[in-house]
Amino acid sequence: MAQPKNFGYDADAAALKAQAEKFFNDRLPVDQLHALVAHDSTPERDPVVDWKPEIWAEMVELGWSILTVPEEKGGLGLPLVAVAGLIEAQGKAACPSPLLETLNSGLVLSHCDQADAGFEAILEGKSVALAFADQHGSYEPSTTQVQASGDVLSGTAYFVQEAGKVDALLVAAQSDGGIAWYWVDKSAVGVSVKQDTIIDLTRDQATVSFDQVPAVKLGSDAGASFAAAHPAISALLAADVVGAGEWLLHTTVEYVSVRKQFDRPLGFFQGVKHPLVNVMMAIDETKSLAYNAACAYDCDEPNTQKAGHLAKASAANTADFSASRAVQMHGGIGFTWECYVHLYFKRQMHSRALYGDAVWHRAKLADIVFGPIAA
């Protein structure tokens, strides 16, 4: 099916995004965000999980956590382009929450063959994160370091996003029948979560170990279901980068319009003006590719993989570029802990690598465009 001209972004999608922007503005304006997550500047601080569970509870009440549960399983059946708008708003607010991971898990479950128990838990308001990366940070389930013996898990999953916030984990484990997805309650006996010390203050990440943990099998082919969901995850992550990028751009524009040197606002000088225009164009590229990828996932299956790689390849560059220019154009103040820019700078550095960096996505893209390199 061909893509609609407007990406399928309809009035409902626009309303959801507007609602989300207002919600995040009200609940966690940037000064409160800074007070919440940046209270300790010590570089070697112990890892903490700073967030407001009461904001997440409201998000669940609003139905946001079930947006990627298919309609026939009791979800809302909104197209992914609408979800992208919500994630763009969350990225703009840099709000710490398990929303993106829960939505990502819903996307993976949508491609699993026996996922009902997972959907039921999400519909009950449970949050969940994907646990599948290996110690080298490979975002492919094939290298998972968790094993399943029967339905009992042992081993370790690395780089698990929002592990400190979620109720449950969707774990890829090597079983007799190949690599499969298993549902584990985080509170189960034998699960230990060791928080990573990460640069991003607006998210958390952990190394999660499993010692003889009983689990529920939800999907028998983790590789295929993750591959099918990955383009959608890329689209949502790219939307987050766009939201954070817009905050960085507009905050920097405001600053260089006020701050004067040589008797003129900084933004008068082309050495400042032109890089900011380049940031704007980079954000626009990523935004267009994010909504294109979401739309392809919704209704243009043959182009889904390519569109997902395009979106995240662009997003990784835009994350880096928008962040670095914001600090640079703020000058000395941009380099301080008290300036809010570092919160977004760090979120973008984290987003850049999440679920595949630019080089990885471009290599996948090249395999589609050229075919694999001849042996």
């Binding site: 990406f7 933004g267 008068f268 003006k273 465009v369």
Partner: protein, 412 residues
């Protein structure tokens, strides 16, 4: 652009069908001469005669000027031109030679001229019988356009006498008419400007001299134009005296592709083989070009470079699509004002990348049998600078984007 899901109204669908069947039967076929990559590189009358005949036939079939009012020689339709453009490009037709007329002069005249002047000038402009050129830049007025010095002095009998020097004037050597920005008041920089249409061909040797300039490619195509006491009627003035800058802004808006009317466009056929500057053409080149016994497309570094460009190209295509979805942008001019800088820089990088993929063959030029695509990539790379410089340099475009979209302080 993959935009196959666009839904035509019944009228538009019938028009699209008309375009397709007409083009199937009337495509001009193999050109008798090497055709240039764009109209501003037309060198000789063999090329021009062929292209003018093509524009006239497309105009007579209703494929050019569809959205202009009937009294201006147009089709009197709405949103038909975009369909005709799609179909002409799909059919890989020759380009329309009267590009400055169609893209800049016509919308400016439509917005600022008297009905009498519109009816007099536009039909022969749309048909391509009259070629138009643009007299904006001067030796001392490039990016700082408002500093033009060409002066129009009023005569006692209500006419104007024009003296001055315009430069980088594409198509002047074929032009019947010029849109021209002149100074009518030396005491005000912006408010001292006025806008006229003036005859060129009929005034050659009678106040107008056209001298060709040779470009770095070796091609002709643009000129300097000297005015020595050219007398023009006051009725050839567009809009009010002293409003020339505002009229010029209309021209530039359309020149940069940000106007509200689709300019007629065709193309795809440049020589015997069709050629377009696109990343998919670079992909094809990389598969066909051998380096060290292997195709370039098996080199991971070159694959990555080409994919970087693919991301940017697809990003631009999708941004153009998003430009028509107001709910997905925060400023109405944010995307339209990017078009010129994005497309010109994209083509520049893509042509440059093709030369790199071609390796040693990138050194071969037009006329060498072994040149890449007959030398079109090398020619295209050099010509790309015409587009990143003309119509407001990329640097001026970034000033405009920064000031009008981001609201940054003006650099002037």
């Amino acid at each position: 652009m993959s935009d196959g899901a666009r839904v035509d109204t019944p009228e538009q669908a019938a028009f699209r069908e008309h375009c397709r069947s007409w083009l199937a039967a009337n495509h001009p076929g193999e050109p008798p001469v090497r055709l240039p990559q764009s109209a501003i590189e037309i060198m000789n009358s063999d090329q021009m005669d062929f292209l003018q005949a093509w524009q006239k036939s497309a105009y007579d079939a209703g494929l050019v000027g569809c959205d202009y009012p009937e009294f201006c020689g147009g089709g009197g339709h709405t949103s038909f031109q975009r369909i005709a453009n799609d179909e002409m490009i799909r059919a890989k037709t020759p380009i329309l030679p009267n590009v400055i007329g169609l893209g800049m002069a016509a919308p400016t005249i439509l917005n600022h001229a008297s009905d009498e002047l519109k009816a007099e000038l536009l039909p022969r402009l749309l048909s391509g019988e009259d070629i138009w050129c643009q007299g904006f830049s001067e030796p001392g007025a490039g990016s700082d356009l408002a500093s033009v010095q060409t002066f129009a002095e009023p005569t006692d009998d209500g006419k104007w006498v024009i003296n001055g020097h315009k430069v980088w004037t594409s198509l002047a050597h074929f032009a019947s008419w010029m849109i021209i920005l002149v100074r009518t008041d030396k005491s005000h920089k912006y408010d001292g400007l006025s806008y006229f249409v003036v005859p060129i061909k009929s005034a050659l040797g009678k106040g107008v001299t056209v001298r060709p300039l040779i470009k770095m490619t070796g091609e002709l195509g643009f000129n300097e134009v000297l005015f020595e006491n050219l007398v023009v009627d006051d009725r050839m003035r567009l809009d009010e005296l002293g409003k020339g800058w505002q009229v010029a802004m209309t021209t530039l808006l359309f020149e940069r592709g940000a106007g509200n009317l689709d300019a007629p466009r065709a193309g795809g056929m440049t020589s015997k083989a069709s050629f377009t500057t696109s990343v998919s053409a670079v992909v094809k080149l990389a598969k066909e070009t051998m380096r060290g016994g292997k195709p370039v497309s098996d080199d991971p570094v070159m694959r990555d470079k080409i994919m970087q460009e693919l991301v940017r190209e697809e990003g631009f295509i999708q941004t153009s699509r998003r430009g028509r979805v107001p709910e997905l942008t925060d400023h109405p001019m944010r995307i339209p004002l990017q078009g010129k800088v994005q497309v010109s820089e994209l083509h520049q990088r893509t042509a440059n990348l093709a030369m790199e993929v071609g390796g040693a063959k990138g050194s071969l030029y037009l006329g060498d049998d072994a040149a890449l695509e007959g030398g079109q990539w090398t020619l295209g790379y050099m010509n790309s600078f015409g587009f990143t410089i003309a119509a407001g340099t990329s640097e001026v475009q970034r000033n405009i984007l920064g000031e009008r979209v981001l609201g940054l302080p003006k650099s002037k």
